[in-house]
Structures are given as structure tokens and as C-alpha cells.
């Protein structure tokens, strides 16, 4: 045992916000499908409670055994549209209520999977589920929702894109008295991963086993501290090496926790998601890492390049540290959850257009961005279409989680509290894409889809 290594680990946890962000248990609900909606909802509740009853306790015990904070314990489930398809005339709201009740019973802090996968078209349960999202997110507390509108293989379903602009706006309006929080629990994806442990976009894909443990690591504070401590006078090649080494250590910790959780709960280990997930805590910021590389402020020219380096180095360091990686894996850039991004957005240095460019090289997309409440649904659909196009063409996951701040204008702020943070409302280009959006149809899959 080397004293320095021991003290390094303790310092990472005590002073640099190192933690495991989430242990997410994915549960398949395919065996809960039933043409009787009441019986289906009861089966959903029962199965989640049965499978996840020891999840929170196991997470807390592992946290104490290794001395590592494990911030969240969560569940993800089969996209509920699959279950709603068996009883298409009944309201899917009962499933949202069953998920919420189950999440409260087992003590997790979010449950994801009020979702539909409509990248190639709508199935029987999809319309009803999507239309019910605003009500579901209004009337439940812990349920998260996501809709996949495009893939590299299938192209982009523009009818779904049009719909989702309106759904996001309605969700914000229904929760306007709670800082529009509903929209913070709704993600629109292109190339959604089936094993993502992070909210709000987690769901348990149809190709997954009956039950699985996925772990999401974190650690922007540790990477930033490493650059601060050892990065003076380094070339970018050396900075990339430094980030790789740090990401390796962070991921090994995630792998250890994932294996232990899998062993204790007798559930197979799925993946470790190698993500740098920021929190609003000062220091635990992805923006500060970019600034630590030498940018005056996040959003300056050079930000996209710095983020590309970071995103790649995190993956290279992490991939050797884990036996199975997946999910989103990379650097997140959720504006309201990152102290440095909040400051940069407030000062006007970080704009929506710059963020859009950054999403071409980060792990996800436009995340936790507050926009003016009077933004028309078509413009939100336009934002979604742009993001989906970036994801589709680059064969990567992209997503949109914007929060229309009902009754407020650019420059004012929304405050969600907790991990979701707070942030300024950002300017949106007001020129209308309405005619383009209302054409409907599909954007065909690109040449990149023809790999066979």
C-alpha cells in the first residue's frame, strides 16, 4: 500500500467531489403487458417493488463499505408505450402513476421509462403516450420521460419532432407554478442508448435482459484538479494523457461499485457509463475543466475543440478500466447543472448557437437549457430537428432537454434546486421554421446508415 495513493483517493472524495453519480437498476416490463390496463399497472407496480426493494439499501451499504458517496439510486423500465400498445383505448396516465408510486415505495429518486421509440413511425401505444406526457409529468413527482425521434439507421421522424415541440411547451405550461420543472424531466433523443443510467433519458431498452445494474460515474472536479495541479506548461497532448489517467481511476471505482452492487442484488452487471457529469457544486464543473485548459471563459472560440479533446480522453481512459462500457459515456454539458456554464451563460459568453456546436463533440446534446416562455412550439421543434440531424449524421446520441420558462424572458432565471440546479434564460433565434416543421414526413436516413 502506497500512502500517497491512499491520500490521493481520500482527497478526491473529500475535496474534489468524486462520487458515483448513480446506480440504476433496469427492469424489463415486457411480462407486465396486459390488455386490461388496471391489471397491467398493478403488475408494473408489483414487479418494480419486488426487483428494486433492496436497491437503495444495497447502494447505501456499498457507499459505507468503500467510503465513496453514491448520490442516486434509480430505476429505468421498458418504454411504457410498449405496454400502452396492448390497451390503446385506455389512458396511459395510470402507468405513470404506478411508476411514481413504485419509485416512492422503493425509495429511488427518479424512475425513467415513460418513453416511446418512434424514430421510424408511431406504433399503437405511441400516440397516446406522447400526448399524455404533459399530464404525466405534472401529476407525478419522480417519473422521467423520453422520446426517441431519430436514428442514424432510420432517419428522423419529423411528425414526432413537430409533436414534441408542442409537448415540451405544454409540459412547461402545466408546471409553470413549479419553475416549469416538468420540462426538465423530458428528453427528446436521436440514437437513444438502451442502457443509459442517467436521467432524465434512462429507459430499459427492448434488447436488454430482464433486470440489469448500470452505473454512471462522475468526477469533473477530479479532472479539473488534476489539470490545475499538473497542467502548468503542458502541451495539449500531455493534457489529454492527464485526463486519460484520471478518467481511468474514476472509472475503476465505478466498475468496483457496479460489480459489488451486481453481486449483492444478484442482478447481472450491465455497463459502466463513463461520464463526466457535473453538479451545481462549485468546482464540480465541466466548464471549469475547459477553462482550466486555457479558455478565458466557456463559450469562447476554442471551446468546441477543448470539449472534443476532453470527451475523447475520458472515453480512452475509461474504456480500459471497465469490462463493459455503454450508455452515453463522455462529457455532459447540462447548463443549469454546471456552475461554470451558468456563469458563462449569464455573462453572455456561452450562447445557444455555441452549445449546439459543442453537442457535435460532447456525449449528449442541448441539456438543461432555459429558453423564453413565449418561444413558439415550432422553434422548439426546429431546435430538436437540428440536434437530431447532428446525431443522425455523426452516428452519435444527441438530445434536447430545454425548459420554456413560462411568463419569463431572456435574462431572467429559473431555479429548480438540487442536482437540476438553476440558470439564466437564454436567447433563442426568433426567425420561424414553422413551414419547414409543418411539412411533416421523414428526413431519410443518411448514407452513413448503409454500413452493411
Amino acid at each position: 500500500m502506497n500512502t500517497n495513493e491512499i491520500l490521493e483517493t481520500i482527497n478526491m472524495i473529500d475535496n474534489e467531489d468524486l462520487d458515483v453519480r448513480t446506480i440504476t437498476m433496469g427492469i424489463s416490463l415486457l411480462d407486465c403487458i396486459d390488455p386490461d390496463p388496471e391489471r397491467a399497472a398493478q403488475k408494473v407496480y408489483d414487479k418494480i417493488c419486488r426487483y428494486a426493494q433492496n436497491l437503495v439499501k444495497a447502494g447505501e451499504d456499498i457507499s459505507r463499505q468503500y467510503g465513496i458517496p453514491i448520490i442516486n439510486k434509480r430505476n429505468s423500465v421498458t418504454p411504457i408505450a410498449t405496454l400502452a400498445g396492448a390497451c390503446p383505448s385506455a389512458s396511459p396516465i395510470r402507468f405513470a402513476k404506478a411508476l411514481d408510486k413504485a419509485a416512492h415505495t422503493v425509495g429511488v429518486n427518479f424512475i425513467g421509462g415513460y418513453s416511446a421509440l418512434v424514430h421510424k413511425g408511431f406504433g399503437p401505444g405511441d400516440y397516446a403516450l406522447i400526448e399524455s406526457i404533459p399530464q404525466a409529468l405534472d401529476e407525478t413527482e419522480l417519473v422521467c420521460s423520453s422520446v426517441n425521434v431519430g436514428t442514424t439507421k432510420a432517419g428522423i421522424n419529423m411528425d414526432a419532432v413537430e409533436k414534441m415541440g408542442r409537448i415540451i411547451l405544454e409540459t412547461a405550461q402545466r408546471t409553470a407554478d413549479r419553475e416549469c420543472i416538468g420540462a426538465a424531466k423530458l428528453v427528446v433523443f436521436c440514437n437513444a442508448p438502451e442502457d443509459n443510467p442517467f436521467m432524465a433519458g434512462a429507459f430499459h431498452g427492448p434488447g436488454e435482459p430482464d433486470c440489469v445494474i448500470n452505473v454512471g460515474v462522475s468526477g469533473p472536479g477530479v479532472v479539473r484538479a488534476a489539470i490545475k495541479k499538473h497542467g502548468d506548461g503542458c502541451t495539449l497532448t500531455e493534457i489529454a494523457e492527464l485526463i486519460k489517467r484520471t478518467a481511468f481511476k474514476i472509472t475503476r471505482m465505478g466498475q468496483l461499485v457496479a460489480q459489488e452492487a451486481s453481486r449483492r442484488l444478484c442482478v447481472p452487471f450491465g455497463i459502466v457509463d463513463l461520464s463526466l457529469a457535473p453538479t451545481p457544486a462549485i468546482g464540480d464543473s465541466v466548464a471549469y475543466i475547459l477553462e482550466g485548459m486555457g479558455l478565458e471563459q466557456c463559450g469562447a472560440h476554442g471551446t468546441t475543440a477543448a470539449l472534443a479533446l476532453l470527451n475523447d480522453a475520458v472515453k480512452k481512459g475509461g474504456v480500459m478500466a471497465s469490462s463493459s462500457v455503454g450508455g452515453l459515456s463522455g462529457a455532459f454539458i447540462p447548463v443549469t447543472e454546471d456552475a461554470g456554464m451558468i456563469e458563462a451563460a449569464r455573462s453572455g459568453c456561452l450562447t445557444l448557437t455555441k452549445l449546439e456546436a459543442m453537442t457535435a463533440v460532447c456525449s449528449v446534446g442541448l441539456d438543461m437549457i432555459c429558453i423564453p416562455g413565449d418561444t413558439p412550439a415550432e422553434i422548439i421543434s426546429g431546435i430538436i430537428a437540428d440536434e437530431a440531424a447532428i446525431g443522425m449524421v455523426n452516428s452519435k446520441t444527441t438530445a434536447v432537454r430545454v425548459i420554456p420558462a413560462v411568463g419569463r424572458k431572456a435574462g431572467e432565471e429559473l431555479d429548480f434546486g438540487g442536482l437540476l440546479g438553476k440558470g439564466p434564460i437564454m436567447e433563442v433565434n426568433p426567425a420561424s421554421p414553422a413551414e419547414f416543421i409543418h411539412r411533416g414526413g421523414k428526413i431519410p436516413a443518411p448514407m452513413q446508415s448503409l454500413k452493411n
Binding site: M1, T3, E5, I10, R64, Q65, Y66, G67
Partner: protein
């Protein structure tokens, strides 16, 4: 024979009389065997790292951590008890 299970106890804080005694006393109370101790004073800060055998401990690591947490608080020191696996996995390939 069972494989030896080990944990690392670290104590960080202001130096004073009897830290080692109190910590090792607590170890003895819980049937935790001390294998190795290194300690140093860095800028007035007392830093001690103990490698201990917890194979026959009367309590689990998690509960041991709570016990030492309380002891640390009463002495105004930071005491961590962590299973050795965390260090092995982070720093060894």
C-alpha cells in the same frame, strides 16, 4: 484458510497526545488486527495510515466506518475506514 480481508484506516487532523492509542484501542475492541502503520506530521497536520485485517472483525466494514466516524468527531479528527478494494482497483491494473 479464508483469504485475508483488509481495510485502510486513515486519520487526518491536528496532532495531539494519544491518537494512535485511541484508534488502536478501538481496533482491538472490534477484533481488528493492525498490520501496518505509517504516520507523519505535514505542516502541523497529523496523517496516519493503518492497514488492518478485518477478517475476524466483530462488525462489518460499513459499521466499522460509522464507529470510527463517531470517534473522529469526538476527537476533532477526520477518520476514514475504507475497504482495501477501492485502492487496489483505482491504483493497480
Amino acid at each position: 484458510m479464508d483469504k485475508m480481508e483488509k481495510a485502510v484506516i486513515t486519520v487526518i487532523g491536528k496532532d495531539m497526545v494519544g491518537i494512535l492509542a485511541k484508534v488502536s484501542n478501538m481496533c482491538a475492541e472490534k477484533d481488528v488486527n493492525v498490520l501496518e502503520v505509517t504516520q507523519s506530521i505535514l505542516h502541523d497536520m497529523f496523517v496516519m495510515v493503518m492497514l488492518v485485517d478485518i477478517t475476524h472483525a466483530t462488525v462489518k466494514v460499513a459499521d466499522l466506518a460509522d464507529t470510527f466516524d463517531a470517534l473522529g468527531e469526538s476527537l476533532n479528527l477526520k477518520i476514514h475506514v475504507m475497504h482495501e478494494d477501492i485502492f487496489n482497483s483505482m491504483h493497480r491494473i
